[in-house]
Symmetry: C2
Subunit: 713 residues, 2 copies
Amino acid sequence: MKTFFTLALFMLCHTASAQIIYSPSGVMRAEFKLTDRGEPSYSLFLGKKEVIKPCKLGLVLKDAPSFTEGFTVLRTDTSTYFEVWQPVWGEVRNITNHYRELAVKLHQAQSNVNLTIRFRLFNDGLAFRYEFPEQPQLTYFIVVDELTEFQLTGDHKAFWIPGDYDSNEYPYSITNLSQVDATIADRHTEIGVRSPIGKKFVQTPLLLNTDGGMYINIHEAALVNYPAMQLQVKDNALLMSHLVPDAVGNKAYLQTPFQTPWRTILASYKATDLLASKTILNLNEPSKIANPEWIKPQKFLGVWWEMHVGLATWNYANQSNIALKNTDWKSLTPNGTHGATTLNTKRYIDFAAEHGFDGVLVEGWNVGWEDWFGKWKEDVFDFVTPYPDFDLAELKNYAHDRGVKLIMHHETSGSVTNYERKLDEAIHLMKSYHYPAVKTGYVGKIIPRGEHHDGQWMVNHYLRVADKLANNQLMVDAHEPVRPTGLHRTYPNWMASEAARGNEFNAWSVGNPPEHETILPFTRLMGGPMDYTPGIFQIKMDFFKPGSPYQVHTTLAKQLALYVTMYSPFQMAADLPESYRARPDAFQFIKDVPVDWDDTRVLLAEPGDYLAIARKAKGKPDWFLGAITDEEKRALPVTFDFLDDRQSYVVTIYGDALDAHWKDNPMAYEIKKFIVNKRSVVKLNLAAGGGAALHIKPASAEENKKVKRYRPD
Amino acid sequence: MKTFFTLALFMLCHTASAQIIYSPSGVMRAEFKLTDRGEPSYSLFLGKKEVIKPCKLGLVLKDAPSFTEGFTVLRTDTSTYFEVWQPVWGEVRNITNHYRELAVKLHQAQSNVNLTIRFRLFNDGLAFRYEFPEQPQLTYFIVVDELTEFQLTGDHKAFWIPGDYDSNEYPYSITNLSQVDATIADRHTEIGVRSPIGKKFVQTPLLLNTDGGMYINIHEAALVNYPAMQLQVKDNALLMSHLVPDAVGNKAYLQTPFQTPWRTILASYKATDLLASKTILNLNEPSKIANPEWIKPQKFLGVWWEMHVGLATWNYANQSNIALKNTDWKSLTPNGTHGATTLNTKRYIDFAAEHGFDGVLVEGWNVGWEDWFGKWKEDVFDFVTPYPDFDLAELKNYAHDRGVKLIMHHETSGSVTNYERKLDEAIHLMKSYHYPAVKTGYVGKIIPRGEHHDGQWMVNHYLRVADKLANNQLMVDAHEPVRPTGLHRTYPNWMASEAARGNEFNAWSVGNPPEHETILPFTRLMGGPMDYTPGIFQIKMDFFKPGSPYQVHTTLAKQLALYVTMYSPFQMAADLPESYRARPDAFQFIKDVPVDWDDTRVLLAEPGDYLAIARKAKGKPDWFLGAITDEEKRALPVTFDFLDDRQSYVVTIYGDALDAHWKDNPMAYEIKKFIVNKRSVVKLNLAAGGGAALHIKPASAEENKKVKRYRPD
């Protein structure tokens, strides 16, 4: 059910005085005004506290250098919007979209151009965008800079990653803004492609925490046909938008009517409320997919982790010099370590079928992996030719007979021109062999050369792929794309993205510190689901490679908790079947945990420290709860007041063993069952780098008798 | 029949002394040696006269700055090659490929890289290229500069156009090298997209004429996976290669084994011999098309010239702001001037059928023309959606019933990413509607932005399109591509290119001076056929647009002669049907002239002045002769010794009337018939800017009686 109320519409002409709006509850206040020089400016309050001090808005257009000032207000319109809508999939069944809107219609004298700045003020944040209506004076134009400012009230604590045109796969730093030093990017040689911008540049979503205890998240929503916004830290408290440039240094090629993405500022004194915000999603357009029955959230396994841990390879042969077109693949000498063989894939299909998984991702199935990386090579992959030991037709039937679907993989190596020219053929193959979804990858410097992962051209590419796949009833999970901005509302076949430092970094690098997963939900995940690939049971890599110093920086129990804390409708059980076979009791949680939800409650949250989230399974009375901590051991009391008070529940707690520790004893877990109810307060003992995963389901009469009640220590 | 003789193979190790080879007849001599610093160098003689004085060869590789010196010779191989091969179509039935080869295998100490420089010395010129064999030390590499020098013997007269990364549509300048001033490029605002390089840069094919009467042509052959070579004029007599850069300033991304295109230096004291050279063609690889029966040279009409003269428009509606995806084309208000309507196309089909033409090109049939030009807009055209007034299915049947084929048109506006991602779909449409060929167009700044028409990426694109079309048995005629380098030997479905200043410039700009067509065969056409679109009968544009100052800068008779002098297997009869209906006697020549030949004789030639070429129709005894002049009126005596001496011939001379003049009286022609034989010497009186077109066929007994013998005045 969708409801639309326009409660009011005002018109105010030619006023130079400030325009003030309040959020629906009145808790937030935003103000627009023109400076003496006719520059647009704004400010934002949460209650009586300033969030953003008065600061400027503006764009620099090519061939119109004066466009930053000399504006007059033609007209302002305010209105209120309220709707409740249902996502195709999501963390909650119903989403409320409620805001107060102010549209300021401006005219710039020298260029004779009209510009509208539209503000939407929600109870948890402000969004605004620049709109260029169709007008005789302006049709095609080029944006060379955006001058949006975010003037903060002080030198806040920031959770940041270095500004970079090509990578968002950095671990987070937590420093005051004045201490931001993004040259640490230079150290992260484990990242495939980096283009750090400079010392004082950071990325969004940026999380800030003020001395006064306010949490602020700065990001953008509905990034369409525009480059990603990064932020330059100036004077310790001023953030300035910095758009990712194209190959010739321009930012965006535009045609009226056009609106930029929304710039978003979420603010709350409660970290839990920030996490529950649906404002970024609400700022996106409704779904363009009319009949989305074919879109299915799912759990999947993959011929994948075995490559990361070094047991297998993506490539079929060991050659460092392959010409895609001229190679007779059958004539190559197999290296004996190729992961994506028919036989091995069948092993995964069998395991998936046995344990009720929907899909099996297979990477390395198609030719080109021998020399795919780091060459800036254009003709690197095709997306239709399997290696000689991978039988598409046989696997299609084998999977079908067992009720499993294979998930396609399209690694582009960043050669996107190559991918785009072959996409029609690739889609044809997917449809022919009944693949429902594809994981795309962009590990490499972009071709067209000079373009960046986060520039306008690539932003358009990701969406073009999502759109084209939607037209073919195919789902997509994009790896190494620009970070999400809520576009999964509009394209609900865009199930997930990576777009941050995922779990695989733990397999072969310094990895992700224990706090990493307590920060991601406040930053990267604000824009949309992440395919983080949780579920690693075999924590230390020396199990696979004797002497390896690498490990996952969590306990096993925390890996289970991530299925709840790291929301995604596309969740991988990333470890090897053998790892799961060795611990069937723990694996049971992965089998049971859903990927689509009726409700979500953020119970406890402190970015960089800990997190506890409860979610109700879609269409079922079961709840699942995930709690995680950073490198500190903690006892977290979680309340169960989300439960139905008419009954009792059995909670199965997959928790850290008493002596567990992410480094010293990461795989020690224990599984306990208790009877709980709405009034229970369960203390979860999380080891250092640990977590707990809870499955809470209505207790049967027998369980009510047999299972002991939960009692606090 | 193909014959291959390897006459000799020598091996010479570790020698620092010069390597000398002679051409098969001994007329040319080339020398290779290393300088004292280990730099490769070469020189070239024609007879006893130096063509190229000793000068350097070299490439600069990224991350290997020392690669220009420190070479040692590992080994040299010499051999002789002789073959006679038959092109799928061409100027002659048999082509002799005869050269002496020298391969110098070099080693560069610091980089530990092996490089072969291969020379092929023909009787009319030298070619050489750089080859990087597969080797452990080098797999992927980037060329950042090429240092090939052409050290001439003096400040020669040059026929040049400005060096430019994006356009070759300039008129020629004739100056000594010391007087080259390519800043004249700035004046040519009639050219859609220009990127002139600088004052002393010119393009190839460059024609030079020495004080000693030698003609030299510098160009390249087999331009594959490499940027075009332009030339920097240094010190008045030194030409230095200058490669077209990519978006980030690199020149070429390469993978071993790789060979650069051939750098070619043709030299002769006879301008006629230079024109007859097949060396550039011979340097290309044999045809990749195994069964070329579907490749058909042809003459065609087009819904085209009427747009250039202003009678019709490519666009259907007058809107300056169109979004391709969101436009309901049927809802637009037609402008009433759209050329590509079903009705108008039928008119051309009827005319083509009546007069025996093979094809009808239709431009402006597909949506997107409203705002296609000059916007650097990516989503500009699709290649499958016709305007509402163009009925693909109806026209397919209408053309088929009349034995005519429509020719497809794909204007990209330079948005090549857009074209490539839609090419599969576009080809599918072509096949569905029985189009045998496509004219492509690249009028606009290239997207990927920062790339250029003549850079490696685009060079690969043109060939990718030719290759993909070949796989679908489709022919291509590329407009605004890089200039040809003989690749039509390898891809004989690549029928023609524009790649120079074509006839249409006469319709709406200062146009092409009368000398233009006497230079093109020595320059642009050395690389391959040009779709020059001759056959304009209505010479002055004020016929269509009263007051127009524009006109074709030739007489009507010269337009006929161009069908012989401007070789192409794809020849347009470019004017309107009405223009031809008004002059059926002159039109008869266009109807009769073939587009494929058994033999060609260049009778007279002086670049910039005049030209007379005779060609024998493929599989027929008929000969055709074209003679043209520049702005000077001339009487050219042409000998007929190419005729079979066992019989007499009727020659029909389509010549300038006595009072004809390109400016004052361009449409005055007269048609005469005579009996001629092998011993005849016919004086052709060419008006200023005029020409003559001759059809020579065996005389019947009756003609021998009735037609008068030719007598000199």
